[in-house]
Assembly symmetry: C2
Homo-oligomer: 326 residues x 2
């Protein structure tokens, strides 16, 4: 289970219950890869989406028995996208473990992701309002469409900040936003509150993904538990690079050209130069400011929520995510 929330027993406690439900959901004798999937699911993810769902529910009347399975469904849905992401990016490590497809092959990983997605839908159909179950399905479509767009844009480096923000909106912010919102709706919070939570969740999600992309530029492998510079190696153009290109298009394009040529075994020196140039040109700083701007917008929205412990909790989560190191 996660230690991201270890300072916050009010979240850590229900998240442990969510993790138990996830474990039970995976414990299906008919599913051949249940042990491998269980290791992945139990391996200390941040469980951000169920955490947001639980926080959202605290703005209404909580029915934990109904809510926790839904929180598990949202996290399983997220994990299923991670499995397919790893297949797609041919990533070797996830959460400190070898990825599923490196252990069992691409076929098994694709099917395991499908299996998990279907389990997640079943769990949400069981425990969510019909409208919320539909909304969750819609978000998965948005995630897939954004991921496809992201893949089609690889090695082009022509992405604008605007196009980048649109992609991460579908890829990440939509599900984080919906998690908060669905928690509130399921707990019958006032619709005005639920709407504010939806907006705050969106901004938190945007900041979250920007930080995620930023950490790929500046974090150490040890902290991230995955290789640094991975996005660049993959031909992805995320926000630090976009800002860096604005500042020094010719210089950075020249380096990117070398990166592409080196292809299969990336030239680590070229990679390091690009990472350095993104810092020197202010690309990383500009990205950090963008994340801070979204967090500030989220905080402004949060400040308009009814005063309650959940409001303070959400506010501190938004700051914690902005300042995280992994």
């Amino acid at each position: 289970m996660t230690d991201f929330w270890q300072d916050d027993p009010e979240l850590a406690r229900p998240l442990e219950a969510v993790a138990r439900i996830m474990g039970e959901t995976l414990d299906t004798p008919a599913f051949p890869l249940r042990e491998a999937l269980s290791s992945l699911v139990n391996s200390n993810g941040k469980m951000l989406r169920p955490a947001l769902l639980i926080i959202g529910s605290r703005f209404g009347r909580i029915n934990e028995a109904k809510l926790l399975p839904l929180a598990a469904a949202v996290e399983l849905l997220h994990v299923s996208t991670l499995i397919h992401d790893d297949v797609i990016d041919d990533a070797t490590i996830r959460r400190g473990h070898p990825t599923l497809h490196t252990q069992f092959g691409v076929k098994e990983a694709v099917l395991a992701g499908d299996w998990l997605l279907a389990r997640s839908f079943r769990l949400s159909a069981q425990s969510a309002d019909e409208g919320n179950a539909q909304a969750l399905a819609r978000v998965i479509s948005a995630i897939c469409a954004s991921e496809i767009q992201q893949d089609l844009d690889k090695w082009r480096y022509s992405t604008s900040v605007r196009a980048y923000l649109r992609k991460i909106s579908g890829k990440t912010a939509a599900l984080l936003s919906l998690s908060l919102y669905v928690g509130a709706v399921e707990a019958k919070a006032p619709s005005r509150t639920a709407e504010r939570l939806r907006r705050a969740g969106y901004d938190i999600g945007m900041a979250f993904q920007i930080i995620d992309d930023l950490l790929d530029f500046e974090s150490s492998e040890d902290v991230m538990r995955k290789p640094v510079g991975r996005d660049l190696e993959e031909g992805l153009c995320t926000i630090p690079l976009i800002y860096a290109l604005k500042a020094d298009e010719a210089g950075i394009r020249e380096l990117l050209g070398k990166l592409r040529l080196s292809d299969l075994s990336t030239d680590k020196a070229v990679l390091a130069s690009i990472l350095a140039r993104c810092a020197e040109t202010g690309g990383i700083e500009a990205a950090r400011q963008e994340a801070a701007r979204y967090t500030a917008r989220a905080q402004a929205e949060i400040a308009r929520l009814p005063a309650c412990p959940a409001r303070d909790e959400l506010s501190s989560v938004a700051d914690k995510l902005l300042n995280r190191a992994y």
Copy 2:
């Protein structure tokens, strides 16, 4: 659209409406691969699952406005599994067209399958009873689990008839059975009728998959619109081979060993010898009898349904599927 039902206007008409809904569902500007997916969806599949759902509904009071979107959801769900199947088996042709992953790469095909699966869930959450939406999600899990098992069993040839039947039960019969059942339940048919339809659908589904596997042994490429002997090349052990192994274990294992060795470019002569031996040893005939046995069981169940045009229709569909050439 399908021409499998061209002699049956009572089914062809609503299936055209289902195809239109499928087209509308895919027509999402935000989805980059909508055109390629539309070609696949429109390319003359049998649309067996929506056909069964519609037949099932005729045992109750039909509300077509609610039912046809659900029929579309069931077919889209099936198509999403085909996309991932083709990735997994690296199949080059589907329904006479190049497969999605050969056109756009594995990544896009995996995501397109996910996208479609999510769209299908959303459509079924919108249009089905909660219990039916859950049941559809459960069937997808069963399909994935069976596909994983099938893949893990490749090149082993140790499959018993019993293990084979268990696999095709999850892979195919479950969804066909559920389609008939869900149609009946959504149309508020008596529960006894719905249960009979569930059982009949299961037997029809078992016969259907056996015939499918059999056609890989004896059909011509022209008719199947995909290569013959494909399952053998893939290391799959389907029922004609299982029966053939019972009759001549040593001889056929020797041939199978050569097939495995030839690996990347299959030795067509060895393949032809195995296909021939499966016929000579009676494996193909035994498989055909197995399919006929399931169809007879389905017909017995159908005969116990209330007399009505839908009953006759279902009976003729069962026979048509047994005797089909593709």
